[in-house]
């Protein structure tokens, strides 16, 4: 019987990481599900859903040689994947503000209290060193509709952040 694992790989970016990691997994008989790779501050990171017949230890053994060779940190978690749901987001939030500590906590705290679940989040510090600007875009789902977020957003806008809320309407045709 096969099992799903979440494999997280973090390390200094260099060409060929994905190729070598995926080759090691394929040669070891492990298949990939969803994955997401990104570079954060120049560091390589990937999360992969990995499926195969075997336990955590056998998966770790397959990953160890490539991890050592490339100096990567590898983390493995057993997960439940076969019933995973992908709800469609119904709201997109865009946040801009002068960078300071706590923007994400303020924004997501207010939105969570108003009933929103985050489905996707990306953020970036842009602007200049002297004048950094924080930009965050997140997709979410609010059961009671976008209006449920109005008060929370008004509060955040009072704190000097620019928070835009845009309903997402999926076109079906």
């Amino acid at each position: 019987m096969s099992h799903w694992f979440m494999v997280t790989v973090v390390g200094q970016d260099q060409p060929g990481i994905v190729a070598r990691v995926s080759r090691a997994l394929a040669d070891g008989g492990w298949g990939l599900g969803e994955s997401s790779m990104t570079r954060l501050g120049g560091n390589f990171s990937i999360m992969m859903m990995v499926e195969g017949v075997g336990d955590e230890a056998s998966l770790a053994q397959v990953m160890e040689p490539v991890g050592s060779a490339l100096g990567l940190h590898i983390h493995i978690d057993s997960i439940q994947a076969e019933l995973h749901q992908h709800p469609s987001p119904n709201v997109q939030i865009r946040v801009y503000g002068a960078d300071r500590t706590g923007i994400v906590a303020d924004v997501t705290g207010g939105l969570a209290a108003a009933g929103m679940t985050i489905l996707d989040l990306n953020s970036e510090v842009s602007g200049t060193d002297d004048d950094p600007v924080y930009v965050m875009i997140l997709d979410g789902f609010v059961k009671d509709g976008v209006e449920a977020l109005d008060r929370a957003v008004a509060e955040l806008n009072k704190k000097g952040l620019k928070v835009d809320v845009e309903p997402i309407e999926v076109l079906m045709g």
Partner: protein, 173 residues
């Protein structure tokens, strides 16, 4: 009157370029009626094109009324030209670009973000051969472009710019 069977990806007929309509006869009028029934049968659909039911003719219908009339307080920005029958449609002007989320009756498991012209001027005939020109914007413009893509053998999947913009709608297996 009949609800027709909808072809789903990867049926190769979805990739064929549909032929122009030359006879505005009873069979065309029947096709339009059947397309309407089929569209209304699909949950939340705002349009459908003949190739989606295996008819390789340049015929599509669009009606975004149900979305604009819904009980949601915030509706997508959109023109509304009523129930549209588009035979041999052509886009003769396009303006602006906007990103939005699309799904498709022929691609049941995914939604994705697609860039479309914000407004279009369309020339088309109706089922009786009367030519007309329409200016559509927002959600209605997106629906028309989505349906007209079907006439050229294209699905929204062909226009999704990155896998990050593609979202699985249903259960993961």
């Amino acid at each position: 009157m009949a609800v027709l069977q909808i072809l789903t990806y990867p049926d190769s007929r979805l990739f064929d370029v549909a032929r122009p309509v030359t006879e505005f006869d009873a069979s065309l009028q029947q096709l339009v009626v059947d397309l309407q029934e089929t569209m209304l049968d699909g949950a939340g659909a705002v349009g459908i094109a003949a190739p989606q039911v295996g008819v390789g003719r340049r015929v599509a219908i669009v009606d975004v009324g149900p979305v604009l009339d819904g009980d949601k307080k915030r509706k997508p920005k959109s023109s509304y030209n009523g129930f549209l029958v588009l035979v041999n449609p052509e886009i003769i002007e396009r303006d602006g670009e906007v990103n939005g989320r699309e799904g498709c009756l022929s691609v049941p498991d995914y939604t994705g973000n697609v860039l479309r012209a914000d407004s279009v001027r369309v020339r088309a005939s109706d089922q009786l051969g009367r030519e007309k020109e329409l200016v559509c914007s927002g959600f209605e413009s997106r629906a028309i472009q989505h349906e007209m893509d079907h006439l050229d053998g294209k699905l929204f999947l062909d226009r999704v710019i990155s896998s990050r913009e593609l979202f699985r709608r249903k259960t993961y297996r």
